[in-house]
């Protein structure tokens, strides 16, 4: 070991401090979800489960949840198709402009979300497209493609192409080869990509504020609107609590799929 004892102790303390910083706000929100008072003052006034019932029976919350799940699923399916096709093309063939395609795919997440949002909104208005769930899906799919693409191409680079060639030699056509050889080998890469893409879409607000119509609400839009109305905040606390719990699921799944090492590597 190169590090001195003192350095190691200091690094340990600093790491603990950063982890505490990362979890502090999450813990505070979780505690407020059980607060008896409508007002978010510290320390909390008392313990209650009342707001959970209120949130579960709130039609706005239910509607927003349904919309969020729908939008995230549709955007992920679109991104899966587009991202896998692009990754297969870029990986398997060398052609002019290959670099440009990778760059073009990264652009929607590399450029600030506000730009994507205002560009899509302007276009929808220009062509008279009605705002609603579909416009949300279009926006989300656009920046989810690169997530799938990154996951699939990373996997393809690690795999030899001989099984595909063997499949073709044995008389498998394109579709059979994809369904029985390439597809299964991409399995976990597609799943972790889909997971990340779903989560990104479910959480997205910066672009969504531009592409959602006045009548369509998603969970982030619901939280954002409720922050202006202090009466709604106890319900927001409960939604926040559930969302924090829910974020354990993708982390757990991702570590099972590919090991903790790579779970966050393919952002």
């Amino acid at each position: 070991m190169v590090e001195s004892r003192l350095a190691r102790v200091l690094l340990r303390i600093a790491s603990g401090g950063v982890l505490a910083f990362l979890y502090l706000p999450l813990v505070v929100v979780v505690i407020y979800a059980f607060n008896t008072s409508r007002i978010q003052a510290w320390p909390p006034a008392g313990f209650t489960l009342h707001w959970f019932g209120e949130a579960a029976n709130n039609p706005q919350v239910i509607g927003a949840l349904v919309n969020s799940l729908l939008a995230a699923s549709l955007a992920t399916v679109l991104a899966l198709v587009l991202g896998t096709l692009a990754a297969m093309a870029v990986h398997r063939y060398s052609f002019f402009g290959r670099q440009t395609i990778s760059f073009l795919l990264v652009l929607p997440i590399a450029l600030p979300g506000v730009v994507t949002g205002v560009a899509l909104q302007t276009t929808f208005i220009t062509f008279g497209i009605d705002f609603g769930l579909m416009t949300i899906v279009v926006g989300h799919a656009t920046f989810c493609v690169v997530i799938i693409y990154n996951n699939v191409i990373a996997r393809l680079r690690r795999l030899p192409s001989s099984p595909e060639e063997a499949s073709a030699d044995l008389g498998g056509d394109m579709w059979t080869t994809f369904r029985r050889v390439t597809g299964p080998r991409l399995g976990t890469a597609l799943m972790s990509g889909a997971l990340l893409s779903f989560a990104l879409s479910f959480d997205e607000i910066i672009v969504t504020l531009f592409t959602a119509g006045p009548g369509t609400q998603t969970i982030p839009l619901f939280i954002f609107a409720s922050l202006q109305q202090p009466r709604e905040l106890p319900v927001v606390n409960v939604v926040a609590f559930v969302l924090i719990l829910a974020s354990i699921v993708p982390v757990w799944l991702a570590t099972r799929l590919s090991g903790a090492e790579t779970a966050g590597a393919r952002l």
Partner: protein, 302 residues
């Protein structure tokens, strides 16, 4: 033997997919074209097309009475407004400075923990720490901003901690809140690539540096820092770009206007050509940033 009596299967015509596969096999260019047409078509039409329409709007006249944009009525008025408006320059500088500050803050906070994870922690602890850093990353963005709002606001946790020392808590208007919350939000995006980069440095290099008489500080400055720099730049793409485009956090935890706020406020109700022209600024900054990051080798570290 009964099998001899069964008549042989009539020769079947190969299926359509099979014939297509055979026909396509030597035509590699066409294969690429077919694979790429859908994703490229989508990105070109939906994304680049939208950006192009936004660009056009920046040069179009806005009707002063109806507020509607008049297509193909070319003007540079939006750019004149931006260049002459002192407020727009202040907002731009404020946003860029904040993006830089948040990036530096994240780098400083991320380095010790990433280093600990990569080089000191046992494999068990390391995996647990990766999960521990990932969890807050996956937690919803608005939940995190809202959580900080409840901590910072009057009668919140921060005031409760500070008041016994006779210090007033910050109000929800202070711009320093944005700095704190944005650094918090993007910190995991810096920790993870940095951790991956530090882990890739072979241990033998550090030992070699020590053998050659390098003190810990020298080894850090001349070996670790240069070798982990590409991953630092990779992480900074996230912290910088995400700060540059955020308009929700500055709005919720402070009353400072960022580039994104001006674009958002003008996009639907105000002056669309102005919003369009202003959004060229973050686009240009990020394209330059990405080009520089690419040259520094950041894309190999993503």
């Amino acid at each position: 033997m009964t099998t001899a009596t069964t008549p042989p299967d009539p020769p079947r015509r190969p299926s359509f997919v099979r014939r297509l596969s055979i026909w396509l096999f030597p035509r590699r260019r066409l294969q690429v074209g077919l694979l790429l047409s859908t994703p490229l078509g989508w990105l070109t039409i939906v994304y680049l097309g939208s950006l192009f329409i936004l660009l056009l709007n920046a040069f179009w006249e806005k009707d002063t009475f109806t507020g509607n944009v008049e297509p193909f009525n070319w003007t540079l008025r939006a750019f004149e407004l931006l260049i002459n408006g002192e407020a727009y320059r202040t907002v731009a500088l404020r946003t860029i400075a904040m993006a830089a500050l948040v990036t530096v803050t994240c780098a400083v906070l991320a380095f010790p923990i990433a280093y600990y994870m990569a080089r000191i922690a046992s494999p068990r602890v390391r995996n647990a720490m990766v999960v521990a850093v990932l969890m807050p990353l996956w937690a919803a963005y608005l939940v995190k901003v809202y959580a900080w709002r409840t901590i910072i606001q009057g009668n919140g946790l921060l005031e409760w901690v500070l008041n016994p020392f006779g210090i007033d808590g910050p109000s929800l208007r202070a711009i320093s809140n944005s700095w704190l919350v944005l650094s918090y939000l993007w910190l995991p995006y810096m920790i993870l690539p940095l951790y991956a980069g530090l882990e890739r440095i072979p241990k033998s290099l550090l030992e070699a540096s020590a053998d050659l008489g390098g003190k810990a500080r020298t080894t850090f400055r001349r070996v670790i820092l240069p070798l982990s720099f590409p991953s630092l730049v990779a992480g900074s793409i996230f912290t910088f770009s995400l700060t540059l485009g955020d308009y929700i956090t500055p709005d919720l935890v402070s009353d400072a206007k960022f580039i994104g706020n001006v674009i958002y406020d003008n996009s639907s109700l105000g002056n669309l050509p102005l919003a369009a022209a202003y959004s060229l600024l973050p686009i240009t900054i990020m394209i330059v940033y990405l080009a520089v990051a690419r040259r520094l080798g950041a894309f190999d570290s993503l």
